[in-house]
Amino acid sequence: MAIIDSTNAALKRIPVLPLYFVALTPVVWLFYRAFDGALGADPMRVLEHEFGLWSLRFMLAALAVTPLRKYAGLNLIRFRRMLGLSAFYFAIIHLSVYLLLDRQLSWGEIGADLYKRPYIIFGMSAFLLLIPLALTSTDRAVRKLGALTWRKIHRLAYPAAVLMILHYLWLVKSWTTEPLTYAFLTAVILGLRLLDFKRRGNSANKEKPAAIGRPEML
């Protein structure tokens, strides 16, 4: 398709490095609005919620890269690391707001949250899963680990996304459009991957194992 091809060609010309900074503009914007008194009666809650949502958005965007290429021919692979790392950065900021501004470092309450509250357990587990992904996000790590091991490790992104969406759903008081939309998107993106794995698994049983470690798959 001509549109897809020209889009892919245009995307190739976009430098990735500046996008790391562009991705973090919501942080500046939200903190600016918070100090400006523009976030309403409960600015902490808005910050906490928004940073969490941004983390989820970037996570879903990173996970959408492969299905978008497979089903739409859109090549966003150059941006995937940037998207995934942005999800991690927002998770750090989200967690910091929770610890510093929400719970205000009262470790008793944080401790109780950690073993009593499923949504906190889901969120914290998701964060822990993101750490090895962020640490092995460099080109060097890929070379050192080998493509196969690296890819295995980075499958942690799937349970991390599931935990993130559970963290969100477990928190809401009633079913509204927003959480349900994110849940639906997560289900579609992960559902497509599951389909891929199944298909690949089946064909591998029948035929020769598929070639692995094609560098552009990383």
Binding site: F35, G40, A41, D42, P43, D102, R117, W175, T177
Partner: protein
Amino acid sequence: MVFRPAQKILPSEITPKSVYLNRRTLLAGSAGAAIGSIMPSVAHSAGENTRVLQKLETRPSEYSNEDLEPTAKEYITSYNNFYEFGTGKEDPARNAHTLTVKPWSIKIDGLVNKPGEYAYEDLVPAVQEDRIYRFRCVEAWSMVVPWVGFQLSEILDKVEPLGSAKYVAFETLVRPEEMPGQSGLFQALEWPYVEGLRLDEAMHPLTLMATGLYGEELPNQNGAPIRLVVPWKYGFKSIKSIVRITLTEQEPPTSWNIAAPREYGFYSNVNPRVDHPRWSQASERIIGGGLFAKRKPTLRFNGYEEEVGDLYAGMDLTKFY
């Protein structure tokens, strides 16, 4: 050339409901078109609350927490849970301008001597009380609100509950054409929103029917024209825009309990020792204190234990949450 009807006729008796409810909008619209230039306050009606909030006549009350600093009016009127107008905290302030609050009446029925449809004006005393109360939401935030209102017991005394009456049930207005949260694909709760109290809770002098805050009539988003305020219970018990009060023998159903029975009980007294199944109730965020506002430990019965503790003597409050 003055025409006077022989007796007072309510608009509801002669005009279809949808027409008289729209009357204000029609008037505002035609006034805006015809004399917009000389009446600028009526001219801008779209998306904005054109209701003028009247000052209310009040007197001080011994039940008011005069030592507390009220939360800024701006926050009390912009941070609301009123799912009939949307589930976001800012939704009610944005959407509730569509609500018609005049005329208003409350149907009082069930186990009472004098059931009937009571006009707002017949229930609300000319001079009401100023009462500053703590307000604690089940979502672990709190405010201090300077309400204007009168004791619910005044209404109940007027309608004379029968000896068999043990509970008081309340109902919020259902009017999807004015309440956007009551239509559409995803609806947060079942309508009408319903709440209830035990009769002795309802008769307690702290239990307020509020018609105003900060000395003026209630803005629509705060539950105009008349709402319940039970300061020792979580905020969702304080049902808004009430159109019906029913005295019953059985414990009445309550909206959040229907939605999630494990999470919201009938009593819902503020209790730092009984956590919500999904979050802690030990402390609360102060609304309006800014980004770095210090959390405050939550008080038993929201600080009203001395006044209401006796109502629950001998009850296991972890069981009756």
